[in-house]
Each structure stands twice: as C-alpha cells, then as structure tokens.
C-alpha cells in the first residue's frame, strides 16, 4: 500500500530506492553493575577517559570535515570540541558523580538533558537546533564509557536511510556513494545534520513524525525539495518522480557548469550577471550561483521590525560585511526605499491615500534628512572595503538628484576633514523606475555614473496600474512595448554619455526576454541568485548583433503578448 508522508525539506534533491532502517542506539537506562562503581573517584576516572577519547574522535571528525567540506562545516565539530571542554558542563557532571553518586553514564545523560531543557526555553529555532549537538556529544560520551563501537553503516546497496534521528557525527560519516537520501522522524532544517546533508548533496527530509512500519528494502521516494516522502509508490507516481529527479540533476549540473564561468555572449561581449538580495542570509546563494556581483541590495530589512533606527555603526558593519564577502566584485546598495504602506515606528509617516504615489524612497529620505545622512555616512565609510555603487530609488526630477548629491558631498567633505578614509572610486546611480526619469535620461546621464532599471515599478508607473491589484495583472504581464521604449531611451542616453546601465527588476532574469535588454546595450542584469546559471547559459547562445535586431523589432510591436510570442520564437530558432 502506498503511504505519503509530509516532513520538513532539509536538503534538496530527489531520490528513489530501497529503504535501510537504522535502529536507535540504546543508552542503558539501568547500567550494568560494573558501571555502578561505588567509588565516585573510579566513576570520574571512567568519565575522564571517555572524555579524552571523545576529544580525539571529534578532532578526527573535524579535520575530515574540514578537508572534505571546508572550514565552515567543520565549525560544527569545533563547537562539539568546545562543549567537551566546557567548564560548566564538566562541573555539572562532576557534581553528579561526586555529590549525587551517579555513575558516569547517568551523570553525562542527565547533564545533557539539563542543558537541552534550558535550550528549549530559548524558543528560537536556531538555538533549539543545537539540542541535537548536545545529544550527539552525550551519545558519544556514553558509548565511550560503555566501551561500545561507534556505529558505522554497512550498506550492501545504494539505499535511503531511515532513522529516528541522525546526529551530526552520524551524518558526517555517511558514505555518499551508498546513501541516496535520508529521512528522520525528528530534526529541523536548521539542525547541523540538515546543514551537513546540504553540503554533502544528500537529499533529506526531516521532522516526519513517527514513521509507519517500514520493511527493509521497501521502495521509497524522497523529495527533498518539497519534503514529501512516498512509501511503496505506484508506477505512475514513480515515473513522475523519475522525471523530477532528472530535471533536478540537469539543473544542478547547469549550476555547476556555469557557476564559475564568465558571463559572455556567443560573440564574446561581457555582461555582468549579478544578484538581487534583501538580507545577509541571501549571500550564500549569491556565492553558490557564482554571481558577478550584487546588482541590488535592498536595505529595507535593516529598518523594519525594530523600535529604533539602525545606527550609523550598525549600518556600516552590514555594508562592510557584504562588500568584503564579495571580494572586490561590485555591490549596488540601494538607499532606503519605504513609504506609507510600511509601518516603521521611529519614522513618522502620514497616512496617504496612495502610498505608492506618495512620500516614499528618495522623497522620504529628503524629508527625513537625518535618516538619509546616517545611511550615506555608513555607506561612505564602507566604500573603502570593496567596490561600492550607491543607488537612489524613485528619483523623478534632477532637483531630487541634486539635493541628494549635495548631502553626499557635504558628508564626504566632513569625513575628509576629520581624516576618515573613504574611497574615491565608488559610483552613484539612479533607478529608472518612474517614466519621468526615463524621459529625462539625457540630463540624468550627465550627473550620475550609472542607471539601474526597475522593471516592476517602471511598469507599474507607466501603466498606472497597482501591481498588487490582482484584477490588473494583465497590465503587468511580460514586457510592455511602452516600457521597452522607455528603457530604450534610458539606454541611448547612457551610451551617449558613456555611463553603464543595468536592469534589476524581475524581467532581468526572464529567460525569454532578457536578450532584449542586451540588444539595447544594457551591460548588467541583476536577478534572484537561483536564475543566474540559466541566464548565463542562455547568454552564451546569443550574439549582441542578433539581440539588437530582436530589440528593435520588439520595441515597434503593439503588445507585450506580441513581444512574448516573438521572443519565444526566435529563441527556439537560434
């Protein structure tokens, strides 16, 4: 009978195969008599011997993980070592042995439980994920005290491992050639076992709850993308998942192939394929997918959900962190882009009938000058730590740009006078997202270093259609010719004044439409990190010449529908 279970997707990928069940190793609740030594001194000796053994084992595991998966993953076992030396942990165990006359096993187990309970009270997933690490350490100590062999798997054929739980140590020791995937009853996506599974590339679903009676060797599907597990699947389901598995493998090989490749057209024209990010957590995806830079760093996250404004120092640390992690690759940081649709307790915002047409982004920053100056100072200070590009959102007039530039110039002078070093080579750009800016691009281009087109807002403001309004989605589909013509104006102005222009809206990562931007002379595309490998592979198939022909055809078309049909067609011919 087919059984479908839903768990937490912990490591992506699809696996199909026979199941191998790991029985939980038991910790003797009633330790054998020889362990119930009467003398606490002897028990403490048992314990310290097991402790030294554990330190050696974990050191080996840390070095192995470091060699295979790098320093970041080895950190897991560095923290285990730190716990094995933890004065409070050891003092508690010693107390239980010497004062409460517990044997070494019970003392270790009860001390582990004590700290696990305290961690539960933190009520934060990230900290609660460490519960498994304590269990892992206690498990290891108990096995050492009892003199048990540490369990290794002896799989006869490639299998899907099912367990109540897997400790980080067990996960790190899994044989990649034999373990197709693993599923566990407990666990969370943030537990160290899940983190290790992701870096080992082993699909995993955790937190499934009690597993039904499984027979060794039963056929099973693990979908680590959605968290679905299917036991004894029927033929049609099986073939559906076989397709899904191939698609996933193909996508992964695309990522591996293109992650480190330069972004160039077939005729060798370099294009910068960059990533959009909205938080520091997004940086991992940026690096895995091999982005050429960050084309849009939205700074709003730093300002939301908090009672007071982030200080200059805090902002400086965040900007510096991103610039340093990108190691000299360009980072476009957009200044604060909020308005009356967001509640920010420390910024007084008037209720507005149309917040998207109201005091937002640069308009707000110029009204709340102290807020803007703080952000600018933090950015200028960070400028010497990488390749910084500052982007001003929602600029409609040259007066707004000049007002912002005046503030930036004043802050620069202040820094120079006080001897604080700031880079001379950072760049300033404006977003092209209001039709006015596109129409005045010739003027703007003389006063900035670059343009960045926000296709979502440019469409919203060109069509006068709220993009949150579901009955107006037809006005937001694809690339409208009117929007394309506005982008063309901006691109021409950029070329005439020898500045660069990029696109950071959703359409930059559209596999059919992006060539139109290349055809207009746009040299930077910024998108969700996951889209980068696909766009890079498609870029390698087209030439600048054909892209410009497509662009001039498309901008003369009457509807976004027509442009879409045309571009889907040419792509398949080429």
């Amino acid at each position: 009978m087919t059984v479908t279970l839903q768990g937490i997707p912990a490591s992506p990928g699809v696996a199909i195969g026979p199941v191998y069940i790991i029985e939980p190793t038991t910790i003797s609740q009633h330790p054998s008599p020889e362990l119930c030594a009467n003398s606490p001194e002897v028990e403490w000796q048992h314990f310290t011997k097991a402790l030294e053994q554990a330190k050696e084992q974990v050191t080996v595991l840390r070095d192995k993980t470091q060699a295979e998966l790098g320093t970041e993953k080895a950190e897991i076992f560095a923290s285990h070592l730190s716990i094995l030396r933890d004065p409070e942990f050891l003092a508690e165990i010693k107390k239980k042995i010497t004062e409460e006359h517990k044997n070494a096993v019970m003392a270790a187990k009860e001390t582990g439980d004590l700290f696990i309970e305290l961690l539960r009270q933190v009520q934060d997933e990230l900290f609660m994920g460490r519960i498994h690490d304590i269990e892992d350490i206690v498990h290891r100590l108990v096995q050492n005290i009892q003199g048990d062999e540490l369990g290794t798997l002896h799989l006869q054929q490639p299998s899907i491992v099912a367990a109540k739980d897997l400790t980080p140590s067990e996960t790190a020791s899994l044989d990649r050639a034999m373990v197709l995937a693993f599923i566990t009853e407990g666990g969370s996506a943030l537990s160290h076992s899940s983190i290790l599974a992701r870096s080992l590339g082993i699909p995993a679903v955790v937190g499934l709850g009690p597993l039904p009676d499984l027979h060794e060797g039963s056929s099973i599907i693990v979908d680590g993308i959605t968290g679905t597990v299917i036991i004894n699947p029927q033929a049609d389901i099986l073939s559906e998942y076989e397709q899904k598995r191939s698609a996933y493998i193909e996508e992964q090989s695309l990522i591996r192939h293109y992650a480190g490749k330069p972004s160039v057209t077939r005729d060798g024209v370099p294009i910068e394929i960059a990533a959009n990010i909205g938080s520091l957590q997004d940086l991992d995806g940026v690096l895995t997918n091999g982005a050429d830079g960050i084309g849009l760093f939205r700074t709003e996250f730093m300002f939301m959900d908090r009672p007071s404004m982030p200080s200059e120092d805090e902002q400086f640390e965040v900007y510096k962190f991103v610039l340093q992690r990108m190691k000299g690759k360009p980072v476009v940081i957009r200044t604060l882009d909020v308005g009356g649709d967001k509640q920010i307790p420390y910024i007084e915002l008037e209720q507005e009938a149309n917040p998207f047409l109201g005091v937002r982004a640069i308009r707000l920053c110029l009204q709340k000058e102290a807020l803007f100056r703080t952000q600018i100072r933090a950015l200028l200070r960070a400028s010497s730590f990488g390749k910084l590009r500052i982007l001003l959102p929602m600029v409609a007039t040259l007066e707004e740009l000049r007002a912002a530039k005046k503030i930036i110039a004043e802050e620069t002078t202040n820094f120079k006078q006080s001897g604080i070093s700031i880079s001379d080579s950072w760049e300033l750009g404006v977003m092209i997202e209001i039709p006015s800016a596109a129409l005045l691009a010739n003027h703007f281009a003389q006063e900035v270093d670059f343009f960045s087109v926000g296709t979502n807002d440019l469409t919203q403001y060109t069509m006068a259609a709220d993009r949150m309004n579901r009955s107006l989605t037809y006005l937001h589909q694809g690339l409208a010719p009117a929007v394309l013509q506005l982008i063309e104006l901006a691109a021409k102005a950029a070329r005439a004044h020898d500045i660069w222009i990029g696109v950071c809206g959703e359409l930059a990562g559209d596999p059919e439409l992006f060539p139109l931007f290349i055809g207009l002379g746009i040299t930077e595309l910024s998108m969700g990190p996951a889209s980068i490998p696909r766009i890079r592979s498609r870029l390698a198939q087209i030439t600048l010449h054909e892209a410009s022909q497509w662009a001039s055809q498309a901008s003369a078309m009457e509807s976004s529908e027509a442009i879409h049909t045309y571009m889907t067609g040419v792509f398949h011919e080429s």
């Binding site: 560095a78 305290l118 009270q121 304590i134 640390e317 962190f321």
Partner: protein, 89 residues
Amino acid sequence: MNRKTYTIINPTGFHTRPARLFVDTANEQFPDCQVTVIKGDKVINGKSLLHMLTLGVKYQEQVTLEISGDEEDKAQEVLGAFFEAIHHE
C-alpha cells in the same frame, strides 16, 4: 572589574559560531579572567559555550559583559568586539 553593554547587530543573533569563537577566545587568551555575560536577569559564565547558547542572545538584544582579572581591559576590548560584529553563518 570592568563592564560594558552591547547591542547585537548580527542578524541571526549571537548563535553557535560567534558564541564558540567568543568562548574559545576567552578560555585560550584570557585564562586568568573571570568572564560574565548578563542578559536581563540571567547571569552566566562567558567561558561556557552551553551557558552562552542557553542565554539565547538574539538580534537587537542587549548584553552586558563583565570582566575581572589580569588584562581585563584587553579582554573587554577583544571579547566585546565579538558582540559588535557581523558573523558568517
């Protein structure tokens, strides 16, 4: 004894990695210092990773670092820097 209060700016809080670095540095570089970390009404041993983790220091929370012993000023500077920084995952 010296004492200073910090606000955590690391977006994911003061989790395992920074806590481990903090604790290991405290133990290795300042063996003769007593290191105490205070959050609200909780007072813990800053040389214990388990104590640091159970303190559960999150983004935007304030912690006070109290240090006494040899080189306590240097320890405050070195260890305090962990609270003021942004850390890799």
